[in-house]
């Protein structure tokens, strides 16, 4: 009578979050660093009664998958091709399972598997539109339109970031402006109402004809040279509305204001060539134009290129003009940002000047 000896194999006992106990071959289980550590440090897992509790991310179905992975990979001698094939097949699962697998692998400290699943998730995300990504992963679309356009809230309280954000917001508004029919003067809701009021009262209504004609503004240039920054901010809305109406004169005026040039230079300002300063300055975040459809984006890109080329062709003249103003604080580019600011900052940028970022704290007090 032959006695059949049971196979002398070692097992490790694991317990998943739902309470069920699983018996796993030792070499397979020990492939997971977390389990290995538990066994070596606490001696648990050697029998049913002292099964190792697995982290809560690991449910039985996922555990089976992970063990399959371990079972394959812990055997030495697989060719690179075999490994690659196995791995590719392994991650051909639905997104939900993939995420669960990633989470579980991470809690078991199985880094190669985490890398593999992360790469698979990255491949899913790559090239998709935001809507598609949200749908795939069930992400709530809980950013407001403004938030989507304004890249990042400044959570480190860095004034420069705040400036940048405001500039973005302004630009976004201008972009939206463009989308609307051109001959409609849209009433723009300024971002910082409070500050505009402040400025208005500060200026004491001197140039209170905010909606005045361009001719008026030209005349009042000289008086304004000390109030450049306020004017810039005050004109926040102006710019947006006016852009489509009288481009050349308008731009000359704003350019002049932005530079805080002395009166003697005003005449020179007037002779600036009539460049079509499109409000869409790619310089800041053309790259994050994700919610615009491709046709608009292309148009934007083309316009920016155009603009850049034109700017660069007028380099010597502009250089001269700008350098005259450099001694002063050109910086009163207001925190509120507006068309003229954009104009100036983009010019600065294209010309390699860094002034636009050098906004000091005091400017910021104007706005919230």
């Amino acid at each position: 009578m032959a006695v059949v000896k049971p196979e002398m194999k070692s097992y490790i006992w694991l317990q998943t979050v739902d309470g069920s106990i699983h018996q796993v071959e030792e070499e397979v289980a020990m492939f997971c660093p977390m389990i290995c550590q538990e066994v070596l440090q606490t001696g648990m897992g050697s029998s049913k009664t002292c099964a190792i509790s697995l982290p809560h991310h690991v449910n039985p179905a996922i555990l089976d998958m992970i063990l399959d992975y371990c079972r394959f990979h812990q055997v030495p001698g697989h060719s690179n091709k075999e490994l690659k094939l196995f791995n590719e097949k392994f991650v051909r699962i639905d997104t939900k399972k993939l995420c669960e697998l990633t989470s579980a692998a991470d809690s078991l400290q199985l880094k190669p598997l985490v890398d593999l699943t992360s790469r698979a998730l990255a491949r899913i995300i790559e090239g998709k539109t935001p809507e598609e990504i949200r749908e795939t992963f069930h992400l709530p679309d809980d950013l407001t339109e403004e938030e989507k356009l304004e890249p990042l809230r400044n959570i480190t309280d860095d004034p420069r970031i705040r400036l940048l954000n405001r500039l973005y917001a302004r630009k976004r508004k201008e972009l939206q402006e463009r989308k609307k029919p051109k001959d409609v003067a849209v009433e723009e809701e300024p971002k910082d109402e409070r500050s505009v009021e402040d400025l208005l009262s500060f200026i004491n209504g001197a140039d209170g004809e905010i909606k005045g004609t361009r001719a008026n503004k030209n005349k009042k240039k000289n008086r304004r040279k000390d109030q450049t920054k306020d004017l810039s901010s005050k004109n926040a809305n102006e710019n947006n509305k006016g852009l489509n109406l009288l481009p050349s004169a308008y731009h000359n005026v704003n350019f002049d204001k932005a530079l805080e040039a002395s009166s003697s230079k005003h005449s020179r300002m007037q002779t600036l060539p009539d460049v079509n300063f499109s409000p869409k300055f790619e310089f800041i975040d053309g790259d994050v134009d994700d919610d615009l459809d491709p046709a608009v984006k292309e148009e934007l890109d083309r316009e920016v290129e155009d603009f850049a080329r034109r700017l660069n062709s007028d380099w010597p003249e502009r250089m001269q003009i700008l350098s005259l103003g450099q001694g002063r604080r050109l910086v009163p580019i207001s925190v509120n940002g507006n068309g003229s600011t954009h104009l100036y900052t983009s010019l600065c940028y294209f010309l390699g000047l860094d002034h636009y970022v050098c906004v000091e704290g005091e400017e910021l007090q104007l706005s919230s």
């Binding site: 890249p151 970031i161 790259d287 994050v288």
Partner: protein
């Protein structure tokens, strides 16, 4: 919203996994995740690896436009980024020297940069700012087409393990001092240097890759070297220098690398080693050397053949040998010195581990044939000998084949494969 679709699958994963996912995305896609949902707004800003390649901005035919958008993009990303940046890589062929680079490197030096790779486009070399030398935690540095000028007070990168300089303008002293001041250096790669006489002192160095016009290479203190690959180009200066040299280059170069596992030599390397080789008896054995690859060997020069034989016989555990001849068809040589092969100074020991041999650019010249015969007789476990002729000349190849067929073989399993395509 959430109820209809189902629970959020991914936003609550730990940042380490999110980072793992985001760094495997192109940087543009990673940054765009900021508009997915409120939880995702800043996830991208915490990633510790930033890689900017040729695809990070939209394509345009105008290089300057692309350069501008790349510069803007990188500046913006750095500006909005939070937290440490461990890896920063720019490999963009449209970007050339521009002033913003200084600012970027300064920024990185304040953010715990560990791996820095800058490979810009062809054009003006940019000058590395001194802020690079303040990056104390640097473990990997890879630079292409730039000027590097370490300050006198520079004490070295104490954590640097990998250094790769390609077409970098730097004075020879500065290079040597840079190498010797990085005590943990394990991998060194210098390419396209002109007229450099280099002494390398790096006690932890394991991998060495050199390519360029080297007058002289001395491995002074590199006991842990495991893999060497050298491509030595020739200029008239160097040729002259070679002729006048009285050193034994073999000793100078390979004298202190007992742990060597793989040696690859290209272009004039074998010639370089051949200088002074007669004069010394070489006691060194390379017990770990398993792979030798020597290219552009001039079989007409018996000294070069001697180099190969010396190398082979000093490597009892050699498994793989690849030799490539010069494709220069020699001018008719009067009787080649075949006595060379008869001389007893060549060791008679067998190559007991040699399994694979590949000989390419073979012209069928007498020395080559003798070489093959010599090896076939002494490799009892040889499995494959591949021969690739350098000219598709039927008659020449036929002559070669006839000679080969006559060779005695020590290994009964040896397959001689003549590749004639």
């Amino acid at each position: 919203m959430v109820d209809v679709m189902g629970p959020d699958l991914i936003s609550d994963l730990p940042q380490s996994i999110i980072e793992s996912i985001l760094v495997q995305l192109p940087i543009r896609d990673a940054v765009r995740t900021s508009i997915l949902s409120s939880k995702w707004r800043y996830k991208w800003a915490l990633i510790t690896q930033l890689v900017f390649d040729d695809k990070c901005v939209p394509f345009s035919n105008d290089r300057e436009v692309v350069e501008m958008s790349v510069v803007k993009f990188i500046t913006r990303v750095l500006f909005l980024h939070q937290g440490p940046i461990h890896k920063f890589q720019i490999t963009n062929s449209k970007l050339q020297s521009c002033p913003e680079i200084d600012q970027w490197i300064l920024f990185l030096s304040r953010n715990d940069i560990k791996e820095l790779v800058m490979e810009l486009g062809e054009g003006e070399f940019f000058r590395i700012p001194s802020s690079l030398f303040n990056c104390r935690k640097l473990t990997r540095l890879e630079l292409s087409r730039c000027e590097l000028d370490p300050p006198h007070s520079f004490k070295g990168f104490v954590c640097l393990r990998s250094l790769n300089l390609h077409q970098v303008l730097i004075s020879p002293d500065a290079v040597e001092s840079l190498i010797s001041r990085c005590p943990l250096l394990e991998s060194l790669s210098l390419s396209y240097f002109d007229n450099l006489a280099l002494t390398i002192s790096a006690p932890n160095l394991k991998y060495l890759y050199l390519e360029g016009e080297f007058k002289d290479i001395c491995l002074e203190d590199t006991p842990l070297l495991v893999e060497i690959s050298i491509a030595m180009y020739m200029t008239d200066d160097i040729a002259e220098h070679f002729e006048q040299s009285s050193n034994c280059n073999f000793l100078k170069f390979l004298g202190g690398v007992p742990n060597l596992e793989k040696l690859v030599g290209l272009i004039y390397f074998t010639k370089y080693l051949s200088i002074g080789i007669d004069s010394v008896h070489l006691p060194i054995m390379y017990h770990n050397l398993e792979t030798i690859e020597l290219y552009q060997v001039n079989f007409e020069d018996t000294k070069e053949i001697f180099v190969i034989l010396r190398m082979i016989t000093s490597s009892p555990n050699l498994k793989e040998l690849q030799i490539s001849g010069s494709s220069n068809i020699p001018v008719a040589v009067d009787a080649p010195d075949l006595d060379f092969w008869e001389k007893g100074c060549l060791l008679d020991s067998a190559l007991n581990k040699l399994k694979t041999m590949k000989l390419s650019e073979m012209g069928g010249w007498p020395h080559e044939i003798e070489f093959i015969k010599y090896l076939l007789c002494r490799s009892p476990v040889l499995e494959t000998l591949s021969i690739i002729p350098c000219v598709f000349d039927m008659e020449n190849n036929l002559k070669m084949l006839i000679e080969l067929v006559k060779c005695r073989r020590a290994s009964s399993r040896a397959e001689v494969i003549f590749i004639h395509e």
